[in-house]
Every structure is written in C-alpha cells, then in structure tokens.
C-alpha cells in the first residue's frame, strides 16, 4: 500500500504541470517553463499540443482550411497574460490545398506579467479555456477544454519545469525582427506578390517561405519561387485573388531554413500606386515653387515676361521649354547620382545633400550671392534669375537652361511635405520608375513658368511694369537671406561654432567680392577678386578639416536618442513608443516639433499614456536610421511612428504634417495597459 502511495506521489505532477486533456488525436496541456513564480520576474505559460502522428493543429493563420486554436486566460487580477507568441509553422499540403500548422509536439507560449509585489500570495492559479481543431488529411475534430495550473510563489531562483525543453524549442522557432542590415520591400502586380530582401551577407538559407498573417493575401498552396538578386533575394508568391484590392502592407513571417523573421513591408507597385506616386511628385514639384528658396527666382523670371510684344511670344515659349529642360536635366543628374550610389550598396536617402555641412555652406553662399544680386550690389549671375533684364538679354537659351539648373539647386533644401512620400517610394523602385517619379517632380517644378510662357492669358493678367518691380525685386532678397540664416543654423547643428564661423567668413568674403567686382573693373581688381573668391572657397574648405566633433544634439527634454537595439528593447518590454524621425534641415520636421510635439498639451498626453519618446536625428548621415526609414518604405524625414506596445498591433504611421488634435486622438486610441 505504502508503495502504491509512493508511486502515486511520484506520478503527481510537480509544480508547472497539471492534468492534461486527452482528446481524440491530440493531448492538450497547460504548462509553465518554470516550477515557481518569482515576484517581479515575468514567467512563461504555454498550451502544449501533442497531436498523434499524421494529425496537426493550426498556426494563427490556418491557411486554406482549418482553424487556429484560441486561449482565454484567467489569472489573478494583478497579473496579466500577453498574446500567444506563435512559433513558426510548417506548410502542410492537403491535396491541392495547404495548411499552416504544427505536426509534432508544440507549445504555444504566452508571457505572464508578474508584479514585484505579490505579498501574501503563496500560489497563483491560472486557468485557460482552450478551443482547438485537430485535423489529418481526412478529417477534422474540434475540441474544447478548461485547463488549470497552480504555480507556487517563491522568491528563490525558479527551477526549470519538465516542459522547459518544449519552451526552448518554441523560442528557437519564434520569429524575430529581421537583422537591422536588411531592407525589405514588397511589390505587387495583378497576379504576383514579391518580397524583396536586400542586405543579406550570409548565403541564402533554404527553403525560403513566406507565411502571411492574413488569409486573403497569397495562394497558400502555390509554389513560392526564390530568385537571387544583388545583395539578397526576391520571393515571388502568387496572390490570393488576382483581382483583389492590393493590401496596404504585407505582414507575416519569412522563414529561411531554421530561422524565421517577422515582416511588415508596405506594398508599392501596381499601376494605381505608381500613378499616385507620380501625381504626388508632380504636386510636390508645384508646391516647391512657393517655397521661400525658389519663389524669388521664379517670380523674377515671370516678371521678365511682362509686357512682351506678340512677336516675342514664340521666343518666350522656347525660353520656357529650355528652362524646363534645365530643371529636368538637373533632376535626372541627381537621380543618376542617387541610383548609382545606392547600386553601390550605400544607403542614401532624400535630403542626403544636406547631411554634409560643406554642401550646406555652399548653398548658404549661393543664396547670399543671389540676395546681393537682387539688392543690386552685384550684377554677376543676376541674369540667371532674370534680374532687371528683358528676355532677349537674359543669356538666351543657355541662360534659360542654367536658370532651370539654378531653380533645381535652390529647391533641394526645401523638401515639400509631399516629397518625402513620393521620393521614398521612388528610391526603392526599379530605376525606370524612380526616374519617372523624379521626372514628375521636375515637371511640377517647371510647370508654372512654362504655363506662363505658353498661355498668354496668364501673362496678360500680370500687372504693367513699373517702379514697383524694382521694389519687389529688392524685397525678394529677404526670403533668400532668411534661407541663409536657416542654413547657417543647420550647419551649426552639424559642425558646431567653428562651422558657423567658417560660413560667416565665407559670406563676408562673398560680400567683399561683390563690392570689389562692382566698384572696379579689369586690371588688378580682377586679381584681388580672384584672391577673395579663393579665400572664400578656403573658408568653406576649413569645415572639412576643423569640425567640432562633440556637437551635443539637443537630446534631453524627455527624448531618448534612437538606436535599433533600444527600440527593440522597449518593444520587448511592451511599452508604447513614439519615434520621431527628424533632421535639423527638414523644415516640416521643425514646424511639427515647435507647433505640435513640444506643446504642453501633447507632452502631457504623452506622459499620461506612458509613451517613451525616441528621436531619430538624421541631421548627419546615420545608416541605422536610414535603414529604419527604409523599413517603413521611406527615404526621407519627417516620419512619425507610434507603437502601441502590443506585439499584435502594427505600428501606426502618422501623417507628415501633424496637428495637436491628431496626435492626441492617436494617443487616446492607444489603450495602454500601463507597464507595472
């Protein structure tokens, strides 16, 4: 008898186990990976399924048929159970169909949040109401049951339970975020969805298979083909319904051999989206005309047309077209550089020009010179802007062409709100489409001037020439000078006081140069002018050499600097996170920060919602941030991303132009379960 008792005791489950349910073709059990619970340390619970050979249970997306298991947890009020963390499934062919599921013994783990203060609690009762469907190729049997487990609370180091190896196996098959070096894009046409993964250094592990979270994404049973491309591979998967609407983003997991990665890639492609991007780019180009850096140039060129005789119309048209060609050619050159550098594997985004303080200094000098020309201090270069001259004197076709080039150069610092999206899209596209988007942008920029030269009605509505033109011309110098102030401020963020000093010296020398060239002509003055110009260039050159390395970004103020590791850590802790991708030279970003993100109301709401603020400052080149931007299908700032802290939620991407109301509404929808 005593022996029987002993035997029964031995068979009694130790901590971490409770009676399993033996259902037809599957055993189901509630397990924990440790034998006890330690206050303040998260524990892992899991539902163990052990189907008979030839039978399977399902993944979160069951595929063509079947049903995912569901688990409803009951735990004491101060504890909370997270969502099931599904290990990577296998694809199970069923005749002409395919299912996603688990054929062997599997644990579906879920995290148990354990508060530090569990005073007076000796044990934690967990119950799970589980529903499942177990199938083989022939039949399916639904099951349901309530499982219980009592875990003792113990301040000591918990011991691994008998189920720990199963948890270990589930962890090994748990999809992880893709390595930070990868960029993942998705394109789709009528019939095929393609995932493009780049940045893989190791040889491709096979098989490569994509498992979507949604049921209406791909044809589950269809063959997925892998094609090696430069620096990665492309996975082509037939779409679920060729005629169905294109999903906004592709979410699921990608398994490569034994590893699997969570994928969330925004979809580009399809003629509709391409057209949208082209339209957006054109609108962005139009808008650029109104930016303080471009408007003065364009306004003056338009005045050049005032009062043209009928005979001059043809010439005006030719002039307009040449100007447009100048804009197009400059954009093509820029696109060519971008595509070439990207093909070389360097991640590069829109706005890259402004990440170099030397480029910023050169632009500041250019704007300063243009302002001097408008104020009448110098005449050199003025003709490009059409200052004071009639068309015929404006340097002919060559002049018109370089006006276009100038317009493009001065437009680059002003990234219009629309441009981020369109250009981000363009840069992950095949070269012809990228070129198309940049061409649309150029066309938008050139359009108003060309329209004026082609439609006499517009020109005839312009006021008669007179003294006011001279006044306005001088007035327009000031937006340009404002741009100089802004560029200098940008450079101060990048290189600190010595860079500012270098730029101011450059401007001083340019002023001197303008004065000398206007005051004296020929002879020795040319020599002096050349000397001053060289000194000005040298001043810019010092930026490359003397640069304050320790520029402290305005971190503090509740914002943490961005790093992939830090973001991953926060997300693992299930904290809501707001990431602000910004740069000092991005005007939209600065406006959003001043008018929305730093207002007391928004800051208070952020604190109330327990949101961690992370700032990804892209003022200087940062490959980590560039890659993060690319993961959201962007190639420029601003980008605002709000993570709810729940793993099952996709991050919310806020619009590029923020309002306080919008941000507050988003925060209210967070429904945060504040971390203990």
């Amino acid at each position: 008898m005593a022996r029987w008792l002993l035997l029964m005791l031995a068979l009694l489950p130790l901590g971490g186990h409770a009676a399993p349910i033996t259902a037809p073709h599957v055993r189901v059990e509630l397990v924990a990976d440790e034998q006890s619970i330690r206050p303040g340390r998260d524990a892992w619970l899991g539902v163990r399924f052990a189907p008979e050979r030839g039978w399977h249970v399902y993944w979160r997306n069951p595929g063509d048929s079947g049903e995912a298991p569901t688990v409803a947890w009951t735990v004491p009020s101060r504890l909370a159970v997270g969502a099931l963390e599904w290990p990577a499934p296998t694809r199970i062919p069923i005749g002409p169909l395919a299912n996603y599921g688990y054929e062997g013994e599997t644990v579906l783990p879920a995290r148990l949040d354990v508060p530090a203060d569990l005073a007076g609690t000796t044990g934690v009762d967990v119950t799970a109401r589980v529903q499942w469907l177990v199938c083989n190729e022939e039949e399916c049997i639904p099951g349901t049951g309530t499982l219980g487990l009592t875990l003792p609370v113990d301040a000591g180091e918990p011991k691994a339970s008998a189920a720990a190896p199963l948890f270990e196996a589930a962890r090994a098959r748990q999809p992880t975020p893709p390595p930070s070096g990868w960029t993942i894009g998705a394109t789709a046409d009528e019939a095929t969805l393609s995932l493009v993964v780049r940045g893989i250094e190791a040889p491709l592990e096979r098989p490569a298979l994509f498992f979507p979270f949604g049921r209406e994404v791909v044809e589950h049973a269809a063959e997925q083909t892998v094609t090696a491309i430069d620096g990665g591979f492309r996975l082509d998967v037939p779409r679920w319904m060729p005629s169905a609407a294109l999903p906004e983003s592709i979410d699921g997991i990608l398994t490569l051999g034994e590893r699997s990665y969570t994928i969330s890639a925004s979809v580009s492609g399809g003629s509709r989206i391409a057209l949208e991007a082209l339209a957006l780019a054109f609108a962005g180009g139009l808008l650029l005309n109104l930016m303080p850096c471009v408007f003065p140039v364009l306004a003056l060129k338009a005045f050049g047309l005032i009062g043209l005789a009928r005979d001059d119309r043809r010439q005006a048209r030719a002039h307009g077209l040449t100007y447009a060609f100048g804009v197009l050619a400059s954009f093509w050159a820029l696109t060519g550089v971008l595509l070439a550098v990207r093909a070389g594997g360097e991640p590069l985004g829109w706005g890259f020009q402004l990440q170099s303080p030397i480029v910023v200094a050169v632009l500041a000098g250019l704007f300063f010179w243009m302002a001097l020309a408008l104020l009448g201090v110098t005449t050199i270069g003025g003709s490009l802007m059409g200052v004071g001259d009639r068309l015929a004197a404006a340097g002919g076709h060559r002049g018109a062409f370089f006006s276009g080039v100038l317009a493009t150069i001065v437009a680059t610092p002003c990234s219009a709100p629309f441009m981020g999206t369109a250009l981000g899209y363009a840069l992950v596209q095949p070269a012809p489409l990228a070129l198309g988007v940049f061409t649309a942008l150029a066309a938008g920029l050139a359009f108003p001037y060309v329209a004026i030269t082609f439609v006499p009605a517009i020109a005839s509505h312009l006021p008669r020439p007179g003294r006011w033109m001279e006044t306005l011309k001088e007035l327009l110098a000031f937006p340009l000078l404002a741009t100089v102030v802004w560029l200098t401020w940008v450079a101060s963020q990048q290189g600190g006081p010595s860079t500012v000093a270098a730029i101011l010296t450059e401007l001083l020398l340019l002023g001197l140069l303008a004065w000398i060239t206007a005051r004296w002509r020929g002879g020795w003055s040319r020599l002096v002018a050349a000397g001053v110009a060289a000194a000005s260039i040298a001043a810019v050159g010092t930026i490359g050499v003397v640069r304050d390395v320790s520029v402290v970004q305005a971190a503090a103020d509740g914002w943490e600097p961005y790093s992939t590791a830090r973001l991953d850590e926060l997300l693992r802790q299930r904290r809501p996170v707001f990431v602000d991708f910004t740069a000092a030279w991005c005007v939209t970003c600065q406006v959003n920060e001043r008018l929305v993100l730093s207002t007391p109301a928004v800051r208070q709401k952020m604190r109330d919602a327990g949101v961690t603020l992370v700032r990804a400052d892209w003022t200087n080149p940062d490959p980590e941030i560039t890659r993060a931007l690319q993961q959201f299908g962007r190639d420029g700032v601003p980008l605002y991303v709000l993570y709810s802290g729940r793993q099952e939620d996709r991050p919310r991407i806020l619009p590029q132009i923020l309002t306080s109301d919008l941000v507050i509404t988003e925060l209210e929808q967070l429904d945060t379960r504040s971390p203990s």
């Binding site: 049903e67 299912n99 469907l133 039949e139």
Partner: protein
C-alpha cells in the same frame, strides 16, 4: 511518325504533371460561372445551363466536417436555404468528397441527411470525381458561390465572417452570402465579392 507520337506523349505528360501539381484555379468573380453536368441524388443530370434566368447558390458540403456541422446544427444553413429558395433562388448542395473519404455518401444517405436536418436545397449534387469542385476551385466545406441570372459568378468565399467551429459564433456573424444576394436583388454590384473561405479541406 514515332517522333511525333513521342512529342505528343511528352506534351501530354507535361500537361498532366502540371495539372497534378497545380493549385486549384478558381474562376474569377465577375466572369461566367463554369458550366457542369453532374447527377443529383434523384439520378437526374443537372447542369448550370438549365437554371439560366435564375439566381443560383452553390454550397460545398461534407456532413462529417465540424464547420458544416456548426452551420447545420445551429440551423443557420437551413434558415439561409429557406430564405433564398422561397425567393426563387436555386440552391445546389455539392458533395465533392471522393469515394472512401470523409463526407462521401450514397444518394440515399444524402437524402436522409436532408430530411433529418430539415434542409431545403433545390438539389444535392454528387460530385464524387471532384470535377465540379475543381472547376470552381472549391477549397473548403462550406465554400459558397452566388451566380446571377445571367450565369455570372458574383460571389465566392466564406459563408460568413466568423471562421470557427463554434455554434455560438453564428449569432452576430455577417453572412456574406446573404449580403451578396441582397446586393444582387437591389441591382447593385456585390460589395464583398470574394473572401477567403473557411472550413475543412474538400476531400478530393
């Protein structure tokens, strides 16, 4: 001559191999529904063509499948059949299970099931060789199709938006079939024309 035969045989083999490995290719919603010719439980040959001018619903069926059980034991399927057939709709229940597999039944057993469940289909089609199922790309039981009076497929997919075997989910589920039929009746294009079907795999 021999060469030609070999070529022909190779081509045939290739076609057969392709057919064997290919996934079910579903007809597109908005296209004419594939015609068929198959015996019903009364021994009568049924074709889609004979119902020209009427609206037709196809229901893929397997009485052993827990998803089908959910809709018949809750009375959901019968209510839908009753509602639509009394409105003049032709309701065809199709059984594509191969002989020996789950859901395969004799004509008498199929009729007995209809009587027992108080179901009211216009006819039950015995598609043991799976020809109709494959023509429609039927994946699951249930898998539902709605065809308009011109013979055009206007809906293909799930019966409703609650993919489960739980009878409690019938209440409050949105019936895609009913919604498609209502749109059709109102002369509007079907708003939700295709969804991913759910259920057991069809036992071809």
């Amino acid at each position: 001559m021999t060469v030609r035969k070999t070529t022909l045989a190779t081509a045939l083999a290739a076609v057969l191999a392709a057919a064997a490995t290919s996934v079910l290719a579903a007809p597109l919603v908005g296209q004419p529904a594939p015609d068929f010719s198959v015996a019903d439980t009364k021994g009568k040959t049924r074709t889609l063509g004979e119902f020209k001018g009427k609206r037709v619903v196809l229901e893929w069926h397997n009485q052993g499948c827990p998803f089908v059980v959910k809709h018949y034991d809750s009375g959901n399927m019968q209510r839908l059949q009753q509602k639509l057939t009394s409105d003049g709709v032709v309701w065809l229940t199709v059984i594509s299970s191969a002989p020996g597999k789950q859901g395969y039944v004799t004509a008498a057993a199929a009729d007995a099931y209809v009587t027992e469940k108080k179901a009211t289909p216009t006819a039950v089609l015995l598609d043991g060789d799976g020809a109709v199922g494959r023509a429609y790309g039927a994946k699951t039981t249930p898998h539902m199709y709605v065809i308009d009076e011109k013979g055009v497929l206007v809906y293909a997919g799930a019966i409703d938006d609650k993919p489960s075997t739980d009878q409690a989910d019938v209440e409050g589920a949105k019936s895609y079939v009913l919604a498609a039929y209502d749109d059709l009746k109102a002369g509007k294009p079907v708003a939700t024309a295709s969804t991913a079907p759910y259920g057991c795999s069809v036992k071809y």
